[in-house]
Symmetry: C2
Subunit: 507 residues, 2 copies
Amino acid sequence: VAPEQGRRLAVIDLGSNSFRLVVFDVSPRGSWRRTDEIYETVRIGEGLGATGKLGEPAMERALHTLELYAHFCRSMRIDDVRPVATSAIRDAENRQDFLKRAEAATELPIRVLSGVEEGRYGYLAAVNSTTLADGLVLDLGGGSLQLVRVAGRISEQVDSWRLGAVRMTERFLPGDGKATKKALRSLRTHVRRELGRDKWVRGAGERMVGIGGTVRNLAAAAQHAAGVPDYGIQGFVLTAEALEELVAELAGRSVAERRSVAGIKPGRADVILAGALVVQTAMEVAGAEGIEATEAGLREGVFFEHLLAAEHPPLFGSVREASVHNLALIYHDDLAHPEHVARLALRLWDALGEAGAHPADPAERELLWAAAMLHDIGMAVDYDDHHKHSRYLIRSAAPAGFDPRERALLGQIVRYHRKGDPSLGEAAALARDGDDALVRRCTAILRVVENLERSRDQLVRDIDVRARNGRIELRLHSDGDDAVARWGAERQGPLFERAFGRELTLH
Amino acid sequence: VAPEQGRRLAVIDLGSNSFRLVVFDVSPRGSWRRTDEIYETVRIGEGLGATGKLGEPAMERALHTLELYAHFCRSMRIDDVRPVATSAIRDAENRQDFLKRAEAATELPIRVLSGVEEGRYGYLAAVNSTTLADGLVLDLGGGSLQLVRVAGRISEQVDSWRLGAVRMTERFLPGDGKATKKALRSLRTHVRRELGRDKWVRGAGERMVGIGGTVRNLAAAAQHAAGVPDYGIQGFVLTAEALEELVAELAGRSVAERRSVAGIKPGRADVILAGALVVQTAMEVAGAEGIEATEAGLREGVFFEHLLAAEHPPLFGSVREASVHNLALIYHDDLAHPEHVARLALRLWDALGEAGAHPADPAERELLWAAAMLHDIGMAVDYDDHHKHSRYLIRSAAPAGFDPRERALLGQIVRYHRKGDPSLGEAAALARDGDDALVRRCTAILRVVENLERSRDQLVRDIDVRARNGRIELRLHSDGDDAVARWGAERQGPLFERAFGRELTLH
């Protein structure tokens, strides 16, 4: 059933390794989410390297899968279906033959992306799911590698190379055994030479965002190796050192043994080493010390182009604001309460900053805003323990633009928005110096203003904050009897005092 | 904001120890849930034992709290507010004085429950949140103990005794030190004598359900002591042996030391031992070998009376069906898909039973039905990993009528409804012999029918199942092209064969 008056579209990604269908729903209120997905390992690129053509068995597998996807879209009544094909089909001599047969069998209008177009969708995915403003987007697929130089969030240069993980595996690391040093060297030299032809790549990647399964798997493996709690790989930075260790680890293992490396999906074990070497070499050439993983990819790029069609280019104004707002919309029928809590929380934080009661770090302000917007989303799960459910939802839905540490801190702040003594808890392993105090400050502010909004009707419409004689005085502007608000907020006095070293008084 | 065209009511429980306000919402579609709660330790019973009267400071605390609750209900625009008072207010000589002041200050029409009325609400809470048909409901509060004999789900006998946990503590176990053997013996003798006056109690409790904070805390403590994973205390059976160990443990500790017993809330540490002894003695007199905990209590009893006003008496036809249906309604906009999956799943399970492919245990059938109804509720959290989210929601929302083991099994079945090799996983510590095979069978059936319903539009409207030559043949009745359904269901063949030792074929 299609969302009432909303929109639904399906993107089909005909990749070299797998075909994937993803359904996106946009609600009438403008929130969006993925609502279905089918994944099928088709390996349409099988044998392509040797013959330059799509083989008949590979084409039949592909046609069968596409027919299924077409059936699926019809039975789900999805009219807006966008199939895009990438490297394998793009590069095959007999692609017209395949496309004709596919369109005859499915009536789906398959669009073959050029390398530059593919790169552009990777760019849209990266810049709409991270805070990247200046740097490089790396998009590594089975067939090709795309690099995009980004300045001021705008793509300045896009190129594509036939350096995909499957292609590099077939050429340099065939077989199931351990890799020889010579093979590794040859692969690196090849990548370096290919990328070196385009001078713009050299030194372009002070900050680098990575797209694709290779980067996601490497990030997950590095996260496992570091032993930090799993807050998802969105925004995780894979450092050059961690990648070097992973490459050494993978090179010393046979393909079968690579399957048991935590974080590497078994189906990717045969191509992960070549992929890791391509990423590593690209980072070296570009001068990047780390690469930031994102869950978004080509499919999200195609979707964002549609969702943000009114923007030129199709970018969110602020990724963090957009993703927090999207989650709040998904889990709340009405944003009046969280938006009011957020407004009051920032008002109090700003005044405390002016009074010198905290370091006035804008990153802390943004976390407080996000926590205030999301503190109650757990009510969608259950009223009881909804503070814990809010943390669970932040952890699983992983708002874009934040890294694992920031999501963990957000989780702790919402976890303690009702009761309990705030602490880093499970976020401790990801935290930096000062994060404990940050969580205590944000929690204390959230608890005070949440109680001012205890009746969730904006009865306390505004507050004035004054610092006097070492005390923080709160004056409430209320549209009625605010006894419940005062009663609740006053109870947060001791928590507030521990967080800011100032007494809180209400007037 | 009140739910559109739904109903909202608040119940205020003026207990001897604490006042609690709970808000219940009933949606236009008939689902219900708690949506808010305020708890305040008032101790209105303080000093009552000595003087027979409510003291002035206690009354002032109570009036202040009630005024806050009244403010809260007005600002939340809750018109239907039902305040009920129990033992302390009921038994106080000056209760009229208090009630006049309270009603003047708040305009709330406080209803003082008789012991029998209090017992009846405990009964409604117990029989609407467990599968109790015949046995005894024990409801232990701060001031009084209620026992209700239940036959065929109907209350046959209700009585109330002044044997509440606070009252017994003040009389037999005052002070903060360890309890003397003599004091324990005196308390037990007293309870035995009081209960012995009413001959109907003796031997009435083959099966016993317990209401109230004492029972909940003891169940949580026993669950901790047993080291089983925390699936909530709803339906947990506290055995006489486990209770005896807990009593010995608590009696050997001072009040301060009791606070650190896992499962016991610190605020209850002073009265938990007396409460445990009352429960234990009541079990002995009634001949109960265990007591089943439930989260529901007086407040839910008052709510159920309202929700089920059309039924006489106000009972759910089936607690399990009602609670599963309620959860499905809360998390789904439309039940067509889960209901169809449940129908097909039972059809397949029944046919497999007739073919001798499983033990045909009705309890397994009910779990399969519940898993089918709830398999997709995790979509309310996120599409990605929604199988894991469904397990999380089952674990946190804890559908009534199931015990922790059953909820853990349900969780594992929904966890594997999409992919992966089903296993007991975190349910292992709660499982019985044969549960592993049960989970595999239910998962295999759910996976097959979920794939038949892959397009969620009831395209495959029915199935015929035939056992022939050691194979299970599925014939689909479809209203259109069912290629996607066949493709998905056929992939579950190996899983099905491992679960049932029979090959699955589609026709």
